[in-house]
Structures are given as structure tokens and as C-alpha cells.
């Protein structure tokens, strides 16, 4: 967390968190060359990510390996769940107290990158081994600011066993939203009380983006300064699941608001639109429940245009204020390119974005399923949209929050859409 090079030595003189904090602040004014990160001249860097305990455990294991291979560099680690992670980083960004290396999401890249908080990585980390197309979404206005850990795209994750048992055909690419709705209703009816054929998709801005792309549109304008659709479109989008919601074919918000895990792993949902890399993560639990998971293309308005694009599931970045850029770069290269590290990390963050990664990761059947899925939709993958505006994180939260009002019947689709536009436009304006 604290990358002041002298802190370790001085800390031995002082005890108490308060003293250490004051000192770190004072010492940050110094401007000597940092230590080299060798056995004689040790250095401490910090690395933070979002994720659960499973991810934390394997990540710490990989970090221990890194430390043993790089004597003199110690890594302070920290992790949190997704919303908490970003709330914390936002505050620390303001005080320029970012971790040396941290996990980045494509939707936040502009927020951090455009304010000079990230170190340009060209020539700093290895970039020659990435799979094709992966580095495109790591650039902001032409400058490489991040490296992808793994990639993903949207898909329909579904319970093949339940779909089959209730006579629903395997969804094929180009399968329509209406068809998906009908299938959900069929499966819900077949499963009986307390289980549903699918979840309500309308509250996720990513899915609306997909739906807009299927019509040749986009969520944001090219320059990222405004929304690229009208309120009527949003009302229309929120209505796509309204009939299912009213009929009880998707779980009610009163139920889902209490879920701390996804419906698929709770054995309560038969399908969900989601990021394909989640499928292998869900598989062990679903199999323990006696089910089988499969991946299909998400529903589309246009059989020839699925609206899909390959995006980084997560990226690694180095703080622009890091005093240990070299050691940080070593860590990034290690996590993405060291065969042993890749074997430890597996596909927890998605299928590796590097060729070395792909060769060294253990491909279990579920992961193979993701690879097969991505190959099956390869012909439909189109150019990713430009990195979304800085306000995207907040807009995403707002989108879900306001849709909840519609689900609870507190607002009509029109009222909610108007409110969303007011809020989103305020947020976009605040970024300019």
C-alpha cells in the first residue's frame, strides 16, 4: 500500500500506525532513486484486485512464487469485491495513493487513464506474446495503458440438463429474444415453484449495449460524451422482459435482492446471459448439484449480427505514481507469462490472454467449452467500442438502481428512463 522506499527502515524505529502514516506522508516528499529491488536493496510493492476468497488464495500462492523467484521484492496484497474495490480506489485515486499494480476493468480504464494515473506500458512490460486482438482494448487514445489478463465475451450460460428435460432445443446462434423468452417460460413452468428458466436481463447495461449493437447502434457516442440512444429506446429495452417479469417466469426482485450468489450456482436459475468466463467458475458447484452447464450465443435481434465483441475480462495496470515501476513490471510479466504462475492461477480470471498462458494453463472440459464457444462465435465478433467514458462505472450502477424501481413498480418505464437520462447526463457532464 505504501510504496515509500524508506518506510521499512524507518518503521523499525517507530511503532504505531499513526506514526507510520505521518512518516510515509512526510517521506513521500523525498525524491531519491528508489531501491533496486535486489536482495541487498529490497523493495516493497503493492498489488490489489477484486474477487472472492478462491481467487485470493491462488493469487497469493502465485505471489509467493514470485517473491521466491525475485529475492528483494516483497508484494503487499489486498483484495475486495467489485463495488467495494472501486469505491476504495476512487478515493485513493484522488489522494494519488494507488497500488503499484492493480486489476483494471475495461469500463474504468478511461477514468483512471485519462487523468494520468496509469503508467504507459509500451516498452515497460512484455507485449509480444498476446493473442491477436487482445491489445486493442488495452489502449486509450492510442496509448497502451493496460495489459489484458484474459478475454471474454457475452454468452448465454444455461443448464443443458434442464433445457433438455423440458423439451427446449439447444439455443443456436441467431436465436431471438422472443424465442429466449418463450424458452424461459417453458422451463420455469417445468421446474415448478421457486426455480426459474432464466433471470431478468433488463437491469444490466452491458446487455442493453449488446442489444443496441445488434441494431447497429451503441451505448455511447463515438467520443464518449453522450448516450447514443433516446429515452424511447430505453423504455423499449426495459419492456423486453416485462411480460416475463409480470408472469413470474423470471425471479422477482424481492427474491434476487437477497441473493449473494448467482442463481445458477444456487440451483435456482436455468439460464443467464453473462460473461462466458464465468461458466467454468460456476461449473463445479452446478455439477455438485447434479446439473450440466453449457454455453450458447446470447439471443439476438438479427441472426447475422449478434453484437458480440471480445473484450478483456480484466486487465493489469501500473500506477503512474509508482516509485517501483521496474519491480511492478516484473510482477505483471510474471503473472501473465510465467508458466508456473499460469498453472497456479488457472482460468480463474478467464482464459489467458497470452500464448504462453494458453499453452500452460490446464484446460478442463468447462474451459474447453468456453474456447469452443468463442470459436463458434468468432465470425460474429466485431470491433469493440472505444473505451467507455469515465462516468461509466457510476452510470452502470445507476442503470441497475433505476431499473429496480421499475421492477418494484415504483416507477413506470417512462419515468425511470427519464430519470436515468437526467442522472446519466449529469454524470457525463461532470466528467467534462
Amino acid at each position: 500500500m505504501i510504496r515509500d522506499p524508506y518506510r521499512l527502515r524507518r518503521r523499525s524505529l517507530l511503532t504505531g500506525a499513526a506514526a507510520a502514516a505521518t512518516l510515509a506522508a512526510a517521506a513521500a516528499c523525498g525524491d531519491d532513486d528508489g531501491p533496486a529491488g535486489t536482495a541487498d536493496d529490497p523493495i516493497e510493492i503493492s498489488f490489489e484486485w477484486w474477487g472472492d476468497d478462491v481467487r485470493a488464495e491462488i493469487t497469493k500462492e502465485a505471489i509467493a512464487l514470485f517473491e521466491s523467484k525475485n529475492e528483494g521484492i516483497t508484494v503487499q496484497t489486498n483484495f475486495a469485491d467489485f463495488p467495494t474495490y472501486w469505491e476504495g480506489l476512487a478515493g485513493r485515486m484522488a489522494s494519488r495513493d494507488l497500488p503499484d499494480v492493480f486489476q483494471m476493468d475495461y469500463s474504468r480504464l478511461r477514468q483512471f487513464g485519462s487523468s494520468g494515473m496509469l503508467l504507459p506500458l509500451e516498452g515497460v512490460v512484455k507485449t509480444d506474446d498476446f493473442r491477436e486482438g487482445f491489445l486493442d482494448t488495452a489502449k486509450l487514445d492510442g496509448q497502451l495503458l493496460a495489459v489484458p489478463i484474459a478475454g471474454n465475451t457475452l454468452g448465454l450460460i444455461y443448464r443443458a440438463d434442464w433445457f433438455e428435460a423440458h423439451g427446449v432445443a439447444t439455443p443456436a446462434p441467431g436465436y431471438s429474444w422472443d424465442q429466449y423468452g418463450t424458452d424461459i417460460a417453458t422451463v420455469t413452468a417445468g421446474l415448478g415453484d421457486g426455480k426459474w428458466g432464466g433471470g431478468d436481463w433488463a437491469g444490466q447495461y452491458h446487455f442493453m449495449e449488446l442489444w443496441l449493437r445488434q441494431q447497429g447502434g451503441s451505448f455511447y457516442t463515438e467520443d464518449g460524451k453522450a448516450l447514443n440512444f433516446e429515452t424511447a429506446k430505453l423504455v423499449e429495452w426495459w419492456a423486453t422482459s416485462a411480460a416475463l417479469y409480470a408472469a413470474g417466469d423470471v425471479p422477482p426482485v424481492e427474491t434476487t435482492i437477497e441473493w449473494v450468489e448467482g442463481g445458477l450456482v444456487q440451483d435456482l436459475l436455468a439460464s443467464e446471459i453473462g460473461w462466458d468466463n464465468f461458466m467454468p467458475a460456476y461449473t463445479p458447484t452446478v455439477e455438485a448439484n447434479g446439473g450440466t452447464l453449457a454455453l450458447a450465443a446470447p439471443p439476438s435481434l438479427d441472426p447475422a449480427n449478434l453484437g458480440l465483441y471480445l473484450k478483456p475480462s480484466m486487465q493489469l495496470v501500473i500506477s503512474g505514481t509508482s516509485e517501483a515501476a521496474e519491480a511492478s513490471a516484473k510482477l505483471v510479466d510474471f503473472l501473465l507469462g510465467d508458466p508456473e504462475a499460469i498453472a497456479i492461477l488457472g482460468t480463474n480470471r478467464g482464459i489467458p490472454a497470452t500464448n504462453t498462458g494458453l499453452e500452460n494453463v490446464e484446460i478442463d472440459p468447462a474451459t474447453q467449452g468456453v474456447l469452443d464457444y468463442e470459436a463458434s462465435v468468432a465470425q460474429y465478433l466485431t470491433t469493440p467500442p472505444p473505451a467507455p467514458p469515465s462516468a461509466t462505472g457510476a452510470i452502470e450502477v445507476k442503470f441497475a438502481e433505476i431499473y429496480q424501481q421499475v421492477q418494484y413498480g415504483e416507477m413506470t418505464g417512462q419515468e425511470a428512463a427519464d430519470l436515468f437520462f437526467t442522472e446519466a447526463e449529469t454524470l457525463l457532464a461532470a466528467e467534462q
Binding site: E87, V253, Q404
Partner: protein, 329 residues
Amino acid sequence: MSASPSATAAPAASEAGAPTASRKRGAAKRRTPPSRRGERLVGYTFMTPWIIGSLVFTVGPMLWSLYLSFTDYHLVLGGDFIGLENYTAMFADPMFARAVKVTLLYVLLAVPLKLVASLAVAMLLTQSRRGIGFYRAAFYMPSLIAMSVGIAIVWKALFAAGGPQDQFMSWFGWDGGGFIGNPDVSILMLVLLSVWTFGAPMVIFMAGLLQVPGELHEAAEMDGAGKWHRFVHITIPMLSPVIFFNVLMETVHAFQLFGPAFIIGGTAGGPAWSTLFYTVRIYALAFVDLRMGYASAWAWMLVLAVGVVTLIMFRAAKNLVYYAGEDNK
């Protein structure tokens, strides 16, 4: 309150104060008492750490946030001075009205309920019973832990669908499920949490109750007044300064409720904004939306509102509170 005098006194005190004071004290031994001035210097010297602490961690940030409230400061991008724009924008902000509504509803529900509960328990606990010390401690206990994160999480579990509250209420024909997913009643979770933590006002009420002169009750009893009459005509008036103090403190606290609300309802004040407390909204504006300037304006509006409410209460108290020993007309 005394920021400016202490600010000027503090450096002087820390440099010269301590030695001067001790020399004086040495010289003045057993002859003349130390001068007021010396005493003051010693006092300020001892206070230095706290004065510095409050200047650096409270007064400074407050002034900074006051300045920010007149800017469009973005947590990352910075901002410019925009005058009163934030304050006028607030009244056009649909979320402002919602947050105010939720907060007022909470204040109106939680404060009276908590005070009635604490007064009732205080009256029970001022009786002389065996083991009364134990009961007093036991009833005070919740308020020590209630505002912790742990309790908020436990609280959330109690009110989940199928949880204790849902099961208990189902016996009486309730079919509304857990409070967490039900926007009509979700605020009650927080009201109940607040009522459960009546320890502080309870202790103050107990102190007040023990001050009520026993002879008033005796005299009234001789005149044939029943328990209820004595409560209404003796206890309540004699207790009114204490009641006023508690109402004031609890109201001010209630306006600022944040921790449990944030844990139970999240930044979105779920479900459906039914727990979108004013403070939760400030947090979301500042740390999700990163609009620090606007969030600061919200915060200062809260300071103003609490100030106005406090003033109104002091005005109202003039006619409602009876101070024994004062000439009341």
C-alpha cells in the same frame, strides 16, 4: 467553537508554556496561587494534541468541504468555482427529495419510539430490585455494539426472507416476506435497530428520574393521585429538561445515521431507494459518482437543516420545558 483562540494559543503554549508554567508553580509554591494566565497556558499545553487533531482532522476538512461545496470539484478531475450552483441544483435533483423523505421518515419514527422505550426501561430500572445493576448493564449493552458493522450484518440476516422475523410474523398471518426485499417496510429494520440501542438516553433518563423529589410523589399520593396522574403531572414536568436534551441529541443523531443504513441498503439505498438516507446519498455522490463538490454541498445542507431543526426545538422548549427552581411566570 473556540477554534481561533486555541489556534493562536497553541503554538505559544507548546513552545514556552510548559517551562514557564512549571517555573511559576515552583516559585509560587505555598505562597500565592498560580496566575490565571499561567493556568490557562498549562491547560492549553495539555490540550495541544487534541487541538492539533481537531484542526487537522475536523476543522480543516470541514472548511475545505465548505469551499468544495461552491465548486464542481470532481474527485479525480478537480473543479472550478461555480458559486451557489450546487445548492440550486439540489432542489431540482429528484434524488434530493427522495433522500430527504427517507431521512425525515426515519427521524419521525425512530426518535419517538426510542425515547418512549428508553423512558419506559429507565422507569423500570430505577426501582430498587435485587440484581438491578445487572439489568442496567444488560439493557445498556446493545448500544455499545449496535453501530458496528457486525451487528448490521446480523441485523440483515434477521430480516432476510425465511429469517427469524419472517418466520415469527408468519405465525400472525404476515405474508410480506423478509424486510430486506420489501421497500414498504425495509426502513423499519433501521428504526428497530435504533430503538434497540436505547442505552444512552436510558442512562440519562435514569439520572433524571432519580432527581425527581420523592416528596412531590408522596404529597400527590396523599391527595389521591393515581400512578398515571403522578406520571403525567409530576414525572413528566420534572423530567422535561432531560426529555428535551434527549430529544435534541437523538434527533441530531438520527439525521446522521449512516453505517447500518449503508451496510443494509448499500449505496443504492435498496430496496427501491427505501433506505436511501441522506448520508448514504452523500456517500454515493462522492465515492461512486465522484462528484465531491456536489456531495459537499449536500453535506452542508444537512448541517444547515440540523441547525434549523435544533433552533426550532430550542424555541419550542421555552414553553414546554420546566426548570425547577426557575421562576415560571
